[in-house]
Amino acid sequence: MDAFDLMIQGLQIALQPMNLLFCFLGVLMGTLVGVLPGLGPTAAIALLLPISFNIPPVSTIIMLTGIYYGAMYGGSTTSILLNIPGEAGSVITCIDGHEMAKKGRAGPALGIAAIGSFIAGTIGVLGIMLVAPPMAKFALAFGPPQYFSLMLMGIVIIIYMSRGSVFKDMMTAVFGLLLGTIGMDTISGTQRLTFGVLELADGIGFIPAVMGLFGVAEILINVEKVMVKTLVTEKVKNLLPTLKDFKESFWPIIRGTFLGFFIGVLPGPAPVISTYSSYALEKRISKTPKKFGTGHIVGVAGPEAANNAATSGAMIPLFTLGIPANSVIAVLLGAFMIHGLQPGPMFIFKYPDVFWATIASMYVGNAMLLVLNLPLIPLWVQVLKVPYPILFPLILVFCLVGVYSLNFSQLEVWLMIGFGVLGYFMRKFKFEMAPLILALVLGPMMESNLRLSLLISHGDPLVFLKQPISAVFIVVSTLLIIAAMIPGIQKRRAKLREVIEEEKE
């Protein structure tokens, strides 16, 4: 059966009324969290994990994936209307999108963002169809050494791509790995750092950790400042861009799509990096670079297409290798595992229904977003008026009750509060969260693959270099760490960060 037939089968599953409903709920919630500044898709997916236990696995994955790409649509609304990025991937949209809104062109800006996202989403789904199956077949040859090296490379790339200090990120990643060792050792059955607490035998719960780090910590950061919301325009008119707008935006959308998709495949905060890359590319090749920053539609079209394509690209390493490319996908990986699905090379062949239904649902979801989002923009404008003092306590209640309802364990609630406080201080002290969450998820898998590799090779540490694929991963990881520590490159990274910060302001 070829990919097309499998896609049709997936579409049949995705179009079942129940799955359609969850797809709709997912993209709706995704748009909502994208619209609301201060609450990202990671937190939203984490918040919904506890209640997903009562939903069939396929529907859960369809819904949670919908939140991810739906958030990219929603993020642009806040960026354009409020000049506050609803999502990290929409920061760059503020520059020209908000300028357009100030000139009374909020409608075309929102319209081109949605259309660009739809085109990118469509091409992105085709990309997954074409790239994921052969990549999974290639990964079937992987053994424990290759897996260990690949996961190591995943974490190293996240460290390299992050905006913070390499030292800090490396420590954070090791901290995550160590936290992942708490609980019963799966090989020997020994209890590790449980101190006699039975509830810790299964390890530190992923959901309490994620809800604390992304839900509670995000709110603690958000309540520090009084958020002032100044809506540029309440009545958004003429959502459809003009023919001239379309002509100007077409190629930036296509370029943004391909750029976003390939950046998405690489580990790292792909939606964010892809938007900056797309913006920089368009500005560089433009005949009128001075127009950027003054309300140029190209500055919205390219980046918005890029961040949506990046979400599609980021699904490839998850489905084919079982490696999350960023923290949102790491939480999604947790959701797969909670439902007894193990992403990896065998996933596409073992669970073709889940894989193809999810891919098909992404296409359906993108169409839903295009059809629903444009008419719903006035509603999102109203949502933005909901006062934060009311919203924040409700999110916290959801965190508390959601975590407690998992195992009726107050210890897990304490863990969530602890992780919330830890996440708050990490943000304040400029320690990145992504290496921690990625290492926490990958930690147990990395440990078992490390130990198995050493057992197979009779303790030969060179086993990781003797296998060609593994050696490539190790060499790449080493080069990246060295590169990040070379003063010249460090300076260039710092300069790049400064440029990004300046562009944001």
Partner: protein, 152 residues
Amino acid sequence: MKKYDIIGSLFYLGVGLLFVIYSRSALDIGTPQEPGSGFLPFYGGLFLLGMSVLFLIKSLLSHLVEGETFFPEKDSWKRVSAIILSLIGHNLLLKPLGLMLVTFVFVGVLVKVIFPQSWVRTFIVAALSALGVKLLFTNLLEIQFPRGFLGF
């Protein structure tokens, strides 16, 4: 950032030390030929220890000027502390008060404290939250929560 980096490195130093000592004393580290349950906690802890010491030295020697203050606004600390204390309170009082009552109190306190709202608005939001939580988790998802001394 210098002060924060020092605090961060001390935290990781403590974590590294804990894992090294614990795995050395309570777990079987094993050998590279036969790695035991304490293999990764021990060597991971050792690596973290080494990194944190290096980072501590780097931070102590750096000439970085202190950046922004910890809290961006004068009363930020009040809101942050109120949330942390309320979360602790919610977990402590869940069993004695029951889900509905504790949610009512929790939301009420936060709505009134974070960015103070009127009493009427506070009461309405707290009551609707308590009711919503009961409807969603107890009635719809059929999850049993502590009932508290009032029986609901």
